[in-house]
């Protein structure tokens, strides 16, 4: 469900287009420079290898669309850059770091766990643990002290009696509705 629109109109759209164009230009330049600098040890890189790296990257313009499926021209250029880097023997980590250096942490699918970013990983478990604690305390407060052992159903083992109990329970619930 990625269907969403921006309603701020043309001004925003044109900004976006400019940004895409600039990114595309930057990518093309990078590809060209890298192509000039490449050595003769290149090996063929499959689309699947490129996509495996691209899956964990996000371009700054096409928000929330992983690089491996983004149909824009700028993202296609990024994928070509990845192909080139892979051909030069770069590892997945090195390529990701390259894009982080160029465009910042936002290109990664999840923020690296450092500085303020720790909060994204810490807050949910803390909140959940707090919820569990509150629930535990509520259970403690709610539990009645056991006064007497509840009588064991005498009809245990007799199917009809159990059936009656069961159907009575449903009927009782029905009455409460």
């Amino acid at each position: 469900m990625r269907v969403h629109l921006n309603s701020r109109g043309r001004l925003f759209l044109s900004n976006k287009i400019w940004l895409v164009a600039l990114l595309a230009l930057a990518a093309v330049l990078s590809v060209t420079i890298a192509a000039v600098a490449q050595d003769s040890t290149q090996r063929p890189v499959t689309d699947d290898q490129v996509n495996a790296v691209a899956r964990g990257l996000y371009c700054p313009v096409c928000e929330n669309i992983p690089l491996d499926v983004c149909p824009t021209q700028a993202c296609a250029q990024w994928r070509e850059l990845i192909r080139l880097k892979l051909a030069q023997g770069w590892t997945d980590g090195q390529i990701k770091q390259y894009f982080v250096d160029q465009y910042g942490d936002r290109v990664l699918a999840t923020p690296p766990a450092r500085g303020l970013n720790w909060l994204v990983y810490i807050i949910p478990p803390v909140a959940i643990l707090a919820g569990m604690y509150i629930l535990y305390r509520a259970f403690q407060a709610w539990r009645k002290p056991v006064i007497a052992t509840p009588p064991v159903a005498s009809a245990q083992g007799e199917p009809t009696a159990i059936d009656n109990q069961y159907i009575d329970r449903i009927e009782e619930e029905l009455k409460k509705r």
Partner: protein, 685 residues
């Protein structure tokens, strides 16, 4: 003319809503029936007025009045009639009009009910509904006016304004920019309306909760009145989410159905708190407990509904700057904050009268397990909410933008969803108040044995992934327990009443639609879980560029590229449509036609997959690129999605279950009242 008329009715509706809210507050405080009745009539008047506004909008959209900024931004001459109508909700301004119209319809329907015993609630329900409506009308009138026109000043600057700026001329355009290609799909007819219906119908239980707090009538009456409304809201919201997922799968061309996008999460958040609410109200009804918690849940759900409505079309979460530039962003957050604080203030003022009537006597009782269920739903909601807003917080404090993508949500929520599945299985076996570990153990052992068979079958089928095995085991356990519950109930009734088994089951389910509707929902969830486990854990994909006649293999499938056609359509698209044949283990299965539509107007490509769908799996192929004049051929991307159809079928069962649960029962009170009325009514001669 029509635009002026539509705008005029909006202004009148706003004034009527303000008057109605004021009259209801006055009438409620003074207990003055004429004022309350007047407020009720004002509420009822808003709907025909908003209908006129919506019809004016639709007329302008259909007839192509491109001098209106909204019309020119969402329609164009090339769009078919049905898309021109549905483009009403294709942008922020029109969406707000549509939202208000639905809100007014639901609130009006509520005011038409018989209020006999609950008359004291009426004014405050009207206040909540009309204040919410008035807020949306403020947004429309002052910030997102769909009737705003485009004007050109003598300096050549294009301005957007309702009325003519000095010296400016109306900018007459022959054509509009048209709807975003992603929205040009039949799904547009039904998915957004379902989601919005879900959103607005959750306002009704919230309105009753506030009415209960204001009047001090803090028993479970408000819950009983709104039970069906809550289920209807849950039904529409669930349907909206499922349809949205299906639309994404069919249109967005990335082989999946849920991308943990902020807009998806915005709709998912109220669903999470709403689902917790649907469960926890049962504890209040049966045991008189959790009165405060239910209030908190419905207040949260309302806040998230407003949050979701705002987020769906605004896109402000993309950046702090976008948020600051958006005029409505701070207002929306202000409104959410204000209603939240007022609601919590009211709740605190009634805190003492909302004490539990009963004690929790066992950790294995149904109410205890329901509480755990609530904890898990809330935990998922916290993860999702935090993931959505953290990028904004990060940018605000560190100045650096970050992405919180699917891996974060998947890792954080997967164990929570597994816990929910387990609870879904165990909870129906426990009894209200007095279950123990022993009674629960006695009830569970047979279904547990069956679930082991599921593990064995999965192992035989070659599943070695531990997480998948755990998932399938949980699915087996829940399915076994749920079916066992159907069987036990039917068998007990069959023995007691001598009805045949199917008849006993039919009548039992008919007597307690809510219980068995709920179990049907659980079965739907199990089927959906099977689909999700299959498609998430066993999805494979490959991409390659092949010449005509070339092949691409994935698992035991082979794709052969046969041909490619390319043409322009009258509605402004360039279509590139490939023909590929698919075979499995060497056996020809058929042809598929993945295509890529390029929209000239918006310069946007759309990738429409070719899909071969079976119960076992989907073969999903995309045309990524093509070179018509070179021997390189075309680039295809193939996804192999095992078991994905179980997700859609499970969604259908899920919705069916909610419909069963929400279907009206014969109300015993109505029957007894009818008997009493007959007994005491004067005999007509």
């Amino acid at each position: 003319m029509v635009a002026n008329f539509g705008y005029g009715t909006l202004v009148v509706t706003f004034l009527v809503a303000l008057y109605g809210a004021g009259a209801a507050i006055y009438g409620g405080r003074k207990n003055s029936q004429p004022w309350i009745e007047s407020a009720r009539l004002a509420m009822l008047l808003t709907w025909p007025l908003l209908t006129v506004t919506a019809l004016c909008m639709i007329y302008l959209l259909v007839t192509g009045h491109y001098e209106l900024a909204f019309v020119s931004s969402v329609t164009s001459n090339s769009m078919p009639f049905y898309l021109r109508v549905t483009s009403l909700w294709g942008g922020q301004a029109g969406s707000l009009v549509f939202w208000s119209w639905l809100m007014s319809a639901f609130a009006s329907a509520v005011t038409l009910r018989k209020w006999d015993r609950d008359r004291e609630f009426l004014p405050w329900v009207i206040v909540v509904a009309l204040v919410t409506l008035a807020f949306f009308l403020i947004m429309i009138l002052f910030f997102e006016n769909p009737f705003d026109r485009l004007w050109q000043t003598p300096a050549g600057v294009v301005r957007t304004a309702m009325f003519q700026p000095a010296g400016a001329l109306l900018l007459a355009q022959a054509d509009g920019r048209g709807l975003n290609p992603l929205l040009r799909h039949p799904g547009m007819i039904i998915h957004p309306p379902m989601l919005y219906l879900g959103f607005v119908s959750f306002v009704i239980p919230f309105a009753f909760a506030i009415a209960a707090l204001v009047t001090g009538r803090t028993d479970d009456r408000w819950i009983r009145i709104t039970r069906r409304w809550t289920l209807v809201a849950w039904l529409f919201l669930s349907l909206g989410l499922i349809l949205g997922s299906r639309w994404a799968y069919d249109v967005l061309g990335w082989g999946g159905y849920w991308g943990w996008d902020p807009v998806e999460i915005a709709a998912f958040l109220p669903w999470l708190t709403g689902t917790a609410f649907v469960h926890s109200v049962m504890i209040q009804e049966k045991r008189g407990m959790l009165k405060r918690w239910n209030m908190v849940l419905i207040i949260l759900t309302y806040a998230l509904v407003i949050f979701g409505t705002f987020l769906t079309r605004s896109g402000v979460l993309s950046s702090v700057h976008a948020f600051a530039q958006s005029a409505i962003g701070p207002l929306f957050f202000g409104f959410i904050g204000l209603t939240f604080i007022v609601s919590l203030g009211l709740l605190l003022s009634r805190w003492e009268s909302l004490k539990s009537d009963a004690q929790m006597s066992s950790l294995f009782s149904r109410e205890a397990l329901f509480l755990l269920n609530n904890l898990l739903f809330m935990s998922i909601a916290i993860v999702c909410f935090w993931g959505v807003i953290f990028p904004l917080i990060s940018e605000l404090f560190s100045g650096q933008k970050i992405t919180v993508g699917p891996p974060f949500y998947q890792r954080a929520t997967a164990p929570l969803f597994a816990g929910l599945l387990l609870l879904m299985g165990v909870a129906p076996l426990s009894a209200w108040g007095k279950s123990t570990a022993r009674t629960l153990g006695r009830a569970i052992w047979k279904p547990f044995l069956f679930s082991l068979v599921v593990i064995a079958l999965a192992l035989v089928a070659g599943v070695r992934n531990l997480a998948a095995l755990l998932g399938f085991w949980l699915c087996g356990l829940v399915a076994a327990i749920t079916l066992y519950e159907f069987w036990r109930g039917a068998l007990a009734r069959h023995r007691k009443s001598d009805e045949s088994l199917p008849l006993a089951l039919w009548r039992l389910a008919g007597r307690n639609r809510r219980r068995y509707g709920g179990y049907t929902v659980h079965l739907g969830v199990v089927l959906m879980a099977i689909g999700i486990i299959g498609s998430q854990m066993f999805q494979t994909q490959t991409q390659g560029t092949i010449p005509q006649g070339g092949t691409l293999k994935i698992d035991n499938y082979t794709l052969t590229y046969k041909s490619l056609d390319n043409w322009d359509t009258p509605d402004g698209r360039n279509v590139a449509r490939a023909t590929v044949s698919v075979s499995k283990n060497g056996q020809y299965l058929g042809d598929l036609h993945p295509r890529r539509d390029y929209y000239y107007e918006s310069q946007q490509p759309m990738t429409i997959p070719g899909v071969r769908s079976t119960w076992e799996d989907d073969f999903y192929v995309l045309l990524v690129d093509w070179q018509p004049i070179s021997s390189e051929g075309a680039t295809f991307k193939i996804y192999h999605n095992p078991l994905i159809n179980w997700l859609w079928f499970g969604g259908f069962i899920f919705i069916l279950g909610i419909m069963i649960a929400a279907w009206p029962d014969k109300d015993p009170e109505t029957v007894s009242e009818r008997v009493r009325r007959q007994a005491y009514s004067p005999v007509k001669v």
